[in-house]
């Protein structure tokens, strides 16, 4: 990838890797499955193997989380995993190795999910350049809203990276519109007011968040937080463009290693084959 000629002109069309992945799923008659795992949990190589297993078992987009000391949007399962990765000596630069290893082996788009301070510390431009060189698609930024993202907006344009911002049930129509406009790739629709973690039910608020994003012009809105089962995938696929699963996969990796991750990804993707919720309830 190093010979890629990055354009400094933001007006030139940037091909969004994550948007392309969502569209490929759509053409195949389903929705995108987006799967999260933290880098270097339980160790660097296993995290790479697990991510490759995800891609080979139905995941269209892989999200690699950067372990961080103060993950305020994460529940206990992901906190425990990322704390372990940090204790095992994870360094931020390791994430580029993880991304490069996954993109070398699979066709999945690979996004990095990160709290903002590690990016700021490395330098937004430097981080973006290295992510692009590793073949990464872009960033999901849980604690960076577009209001504070001036530096990231220009770096992501410079290096052709996706900017996945979040919209929440509490977002006003004005903020949804502003966020949709700032986004490239897909809008991350937060299903519930809360932190990451598997839940028995997916909040009904999710559908309204997706509708608001679509109404504001988002071509792609994907739902995350609390999604853990094939039935959730089916339910969300009825109205969203993609389904994001995190905690359930981290727990599977913790308890059953790479084979358990592969099995869960496979099972989750069967959700797209099940009759949609609309058909069932109609």
């Amino acid at each position: 990838m190093s010979e890629t000629n990055f354009s400094n002109d933001a007006s030139e069309a940037i091909v969004s890797k994550s948007a392309a992945a969502v569209e490929r799923a759509r053409k195949a008659g389903r929705k995108a499955l987006i799967a999260y795992l933290p880098a270097s949990f339980p160790d660097k190589q296993t995290s790479i193997d697990a991510a490759i297993a995800l891609a080979r078992n139905g995941a269209d987009i892989i999200e690699i989380g950067i372990p961080y000391s103060d993950p305020v949007m994460d529940g206990s399962v992901i906190q425990a995993a990322t704390t372990q990765a940090l204790e095992n000596g994870f360094h931020v630069a390791d994430v580029f190795d993880v991304v490069a290893a996954i993109t070398a082996e699979t066709d999945a788009a690979v996004l990095v999910m990160t709290y903002w301070n590690p990016v700021m510390r490395m330098g937004v431009d430097e981080f973006s350049r290295r992510l692009a060189e590793a073949g990464g698609a872009g960033l999901i930024t849980p604690d960076l809203v577009p209001d504070e993202a001036a530096e990231w907006m220009s770096a992501s344009d410079k290096y052709g990276l996706d900017r996945v911002f979040l919209v929440a049930p509490s977002s006003t129509p004005e903020r949804v519109a502003m966020t949709v406009k700032a986004t490239r790739g897909f809008v991350y629709a937060v299903s519930i007011m809360g932190v990451t973690g598997a839940r028995t039910e997916v909040s009904s608020a999710a559908e309204a968040v997706v509708a608001a994003a679509h109404a504001a012009g988002a071509e792609r809105a994907c739902v995350g937080l609390g999604v853990s089962k094939a039935s959730h995938v089916r339910e969300i696929a009825a109205y969203a463009d993609g389904v994001i699963v995190g905690t359930a996969l981290v727990a599977a990796l913790r308890d059953g290693g790479v084979p358990a991750v592969a099995a869960l990804a496979k099972e989750l993707s069967t959700g797209f084959d099940l009759p949609t919720a609309e058909t069932v309830s109609a």
Partner: protein, 463 residues
């Protein structure tokens, strides 16, 4: 386009032509390049609601009268300005005055902010407040305000801090609050804030997060400062009353920096007044075990604001260390970062040893047991006094105000341990000599059967 803080500064009327634009009442969200809102989208609506409610309240005579009444008739304001005559002898002979926030109800400046925010919570129709606490002072103040105003209160406190400040845990429970020990991360203040934020994002509909210092996302830094400005306003008036002029220097300790910004605000535009903030140097700034954020940190984002931050080369927050739980925080309020860059305030670091020496000195010379946090300001004031009197013909012409932000009752255990007053079992030496059976034990055992859960349940049923 200039940033809002700069625009504000350019547009404001200079209070002192020799000094340039006023630094007072900076509204946020930005203080130079610091501050802002580095927060999850889920919480932005809540921050907007707080900002809107606060902006209306701070110009609403009814709200201001309510605050003034509580300050006077509940907290006991104005707090005294006491000249520390015997202590002064150790400050090069400079006259040292203590702003007595230790005399406020609940024992520290924290009550100023908490009463203001609890009133705002009621204005927003919230029925529940949550708070983080390090030493327990802000938690106790929050539990107090919640009891006073009929709000539910949950306090997040690092498990390590619960151990260090067990008495304050009991105080909060006695006041009807639920204390949640936080076992994530370093189990101290920053992790308590993380868990409070997680609670807030899930319960924001009925819950207000009473952040205890001038850090966090806008509007917290400007709002918390507003409620503490009374410290500096009073001190300025009191020193003029007592000596007929302004002081030469004002000093305060800095954790997040709320007591300091409250005092400093009264003097920011008085160019002749030197301003000093004292951070915790723990074992020493060269040992890696300290909390000297401005002295050694680098700009970064934590808990919603861009400011100086103790972080490693990867941007991971570094654990701070200080004998004072209230200063044991790896961040600092963004307005302090700005004032440091401007050079208007000098920030220096005080070690545990220096702070504890000043603690003992105030006890012995003035009959006042200070909080260990405030002891950092006292130690700094000794240095400042010695420095400023070095060239003075009459040392007593040099006047220094120190914010005595809290009293030391909560620190008696720590101080007793530090000064060797405890035996190997942790009992105060010489207090276990009685050969009689413990007289109060029967009562104690009976009370112990009613655990805190029951106590809370009874409180709830009474309401």
């Amino acid at each position: 386009m200039v940033d809002p803080a700069t625009a504000f500064l350019q547009g404001s009327t200079p209070a002192d032509a020799s000094q340039g634009p006023s630094l007072r009442h900076a509204p946020g969200p930005y203080f130079g390049s610091y501050g802002g809102r580095w927060m999850p989208e889920s919480l932005i609506a809540a921050l907007d609601e707080i900002e809107e409610t606060f902006e209306k309240a701070k110009v609403d005579p009814e709200f201001l009268a309510e605050i003034a009444d509580l300050n006077k008739n509940y907290s006991g304001r104005p707090s005294l300005l006491t000249e520390a005559k015997r202590f002064s002898a150790h400050a090069g002979g400079a006259r040292v005055f203590l702003k007595r926030e230790d005399l406020n109800h609940t024992g520290s400046h924290k009550i100023n902010n908490v009463l203001g925010q609890a009133l705002l919570a009621k204005r927003m129709g919230k029925t529940r407040i949550i708070a983080e606490t390090g030493a327990g002072q802000h938690g106790v103040a929050s539990a107090t305000a919640a009891a006073l105003l009929g709000l539910e209160c949950v306090v997040y406190m690092g498990a390590e801090d619960c151990r260090r400040q067990a008495l304050n845990v009991a105080r909060m429970q006695l006041l009807g609050a639920t204390v949640v020990p936080v076992t994530n991360g370093s189990q101290t203040l920053k992790d308590a804030i993380n868990d409070a934020l997680r609670d807030w994002v899930a319960n924001v509909e009925n819950t207000h997060y009473v952040l205890g210092t001038v850090s966090g996302a806008h509007p917290f830094p400007a709002m918390v400062r507003f409620f503490h400005e009374v410290i500096g306003e009073e001190a300025r008036g009191q020193i003029i009353d007592q000596i007929g002029r302004l002081p030469d220097a004002v000093c305060a300790c800095i954790g997040g920096g709320s007591n300091a910004i409250g005092l400093f605000h009264g003097f920011l535009d008085d160019a002749a007044v030197k301003i000093y903030g004292f951070e915790a140097a723990g074992d020493g700034v060269d040992t890696g075990r300290h909390a000297a954020t401005i002295t050694l940190g680098r700009p970064g984002v934590l808990h919603g604001a861009r400011s100086y931050l103790m972080q490693d080369e990867d941007g991971q927050t570094i654990e701070s260390h200080s004998i004072s739980a209230g200063l044991d925080y790896p961040g600092v309020g963004p307005e302090h970062a700005y004032l440091a860059d401007l050079g208007r305030v000098s920030y220096e670091a005080i070690t545990d040893v220096e702070a504890m020496d000043a603690f003992k000195l105030l006890c012995r010379t003035e009959g006042i047991i200070p909080a260990i946090e405030s002891s950092h300001a006292l130690a700094g004031a000794l240095k400042v006094g010695q420095r400023l009197t070095a060239d003075a013909v009459n040392p007593e012409d040099v006047v220094v105000i120190v914010n005595l932000s809290g009293r030391g009752d909560k620190d008696v255990q720590t101080a007793a341990d530090w000064f060797g007053l405890l035996d190997e079992d942790g009992n105060v030496k010489g207090t276990m000599l009685s050969t009689r059976s413990a007289k109060g034990a029967a009562h104690g055992a009976g009370a112990a059967t009613a655990d805190t859960m029951d106590m809370n349940a009874e409180d709830a049923s009474n309401e």
